[in-house]
Amino acid sequence: MNNSLVTLIGRAMFGPAPLDHTDQAAAIAVACAVVLFAIAVPFASIVTWVERRVWARIQSRVGPNRVGPNGFLQWLADGVKHVCKEDVIPEEADAPLFKLAPYLVVLAFILPWAVMPFSSMLILADLNIGILYMTAITALTVVGVLMAGWSSNNKWSLIGGIRSAAQIISYEIPAGLSIFPAVLMTGTLSMQGLIRAQKWEPYHWFIFANPFCFVAAIILFVSTLAENNRTPFDLPEAESELVAGFATEYSSMRYLFFFMAEWGNMFIAAAILVTLYLGGWQIPRFNWSPALMNLLQFICFLVKVLVLVFVSMWIRGTLPRVRIDQMMSICWKYFVPIGFINMIGTAIWVAFFPHGSRLMEMAMFALALAIVAAFAWRVAYFTRRSRMELYFHPTI
């Protein structure tokens, strides 16, 4: 290597990294490790604590608050506990596949971070087919889940694996169809290209560009909930029916891997939605400090993603589980046809308004504001009638 490691990391993380250079490949590997251990794994772990606290508040409980301040270190305690447990491999299981399956799931959770657009310069590899890459990699999850379900040689595992696979491949279709409206408006599949085509003002986000995009964004959000096995679509690991679904026979670190991947995928799904429809890292432009601007962009991106993750926890805390036939009919009878309509509608819209329609953007933005306001009023109405101390003293 003719450059110092730091320079290489800098070039890999802060510049367009060509794929053919061997020493840059090493630098990319190091940069990937930085992203993984600085963002991906802590996020996937800490969010378990956040989620338990959020559910607890929704259910008028307190939640874990013993380990560390407000129970913040609960995730660490859980991790240590899981690592220390015995790694049981059932006698009748297909041992090689049983051992391999969690790694595949984790792989499908790790690889998407390569094209995650944290800020205008902070991206590992701005592939020109970034969003297609995301879709392809998340398809790998199915293989890991099916492998886990089958190799456990357990009926709960098998049913959970089948349900999960059916759910993931079904909802990949509406999710894929909902990606296209944004792609149609920009003409690129690159994550950065999609974000650069939007502006920082909310009414210039793609979600408000036309009515079809608005619907597409909602479909994308619900589909990603289903793809990540989140409530109301958590049939694959429905505790009351299937114990823990495809993870029933797993213990110790391998069990932890499945759930780390699940929570990490929440972040990835939210990041896809933020990139496509919610303006990504776009903030008002200023020129005097690129580093500060990138930091602010990163924070902006993170805040948007975390809001979506919070909404998904909120949904998990409040909605009941759907039946499997309801889940399938939501996908195939409603989302897929609506997805096609969105795609065609957006194509027609782009043909008529190549530069977008300011009037429609404003109208959609006003509509969204009205929906949020009505919802906030309703939430406030119920909050006033509930146990105050749980809502307004967040540090019990």
Binding site: L132, S151, N153, I159, A165, D325
Partner: protein, 205 residues
């Protein structure tokens, strides 16, 4: 693509292909096939066909693999023993080896077609691919959509059991119970999954 990467991928592809045809348990065969298809997809990317490579991964690993796996589980296939005629297998092995040798000798002399295009690396982008698909290959593209529609209708028509009124007696003996309404279907799906006793262990016996 560098030579080392190529050899790694090539050895992996050959091993996984052998795994597809040599293993007894169909599920293991299928997973070997998944490795093979992923491997070939990576090779596509390395050859500059980035879009096609990722489409390969999405379609094969995401969809076709799962379809195969569902059918294997639906039919509850177990590991199979040796069957068929040994002579035929020997003949097949010799024939396949001869085929490989013939192709290989043929392909080793392809140095004549060496006119690498100027922008060979950038040709795999979705823009160029789309431009060709919707201009030169438009008719083929549209016919492909027709083909897919026919395949969907055909697959449903083949795999669907006859309507209850017509084939009730024929269907009664089979344990592949499916029903008309989605609600019944979900119940029978879980029932048939319950009945399955997949024993991976039997594969290694």
């Amino acid at each position: 693509m560098s030579l080392g990467l190529f050899f790694f991928l090539a050895v992996l592809a050959a091993l996984s292909a052998l795994g597809v045809i040599a293993q007894r348990n169909p599920v293991h065969c299928l997973l070997a096939l998944a490795v093979n298809l992923l491997d070939i997809g990576v090779m596509f990317v390395g050859l500059g066909a980035v879009t096609v490579g990722f489409l390969q991964i999405i379609i094969y690993v995401g969809a076709i693999m799962v379809l195969f796996l569902f059918v294997i589980w639906l039919l509850n296939l177990q590991a199979e023993g040796f069957s068929g005629y040994l002579g035929l297998k020997l003949f097949g092995a010799i024939g396949a080896a001869a085929l490989a040798a013939e192709f290989a000798t043929l392909f080793l002399h392809t140095s004549r077609i060496s006119t690498p295009g100027a922008s060979a690396l950038t040709q795999g982008t979705i823009t160029t691919l789309g431009r060709h698909l919707f201009s030169d290959y438009l008719v083929a593209f549209e016919i492909t959509s027709l083909l897919l529609l026919a395949a969907v209708v055909g697959a449903i028509g083949l795999a669907r059991r006859p309507p209850l009124s017509a084939g009730l007696s024929a269907a009664a003996g089979s344990d592949l119970a499916t029903a008309e309404s989605p609600r019944q279907m979900s119940r029978s799906m879980s029932v048939s999954a319950e009945q399955q006793t997949t024993t991976p262990r039997a594969g290694s016996a």
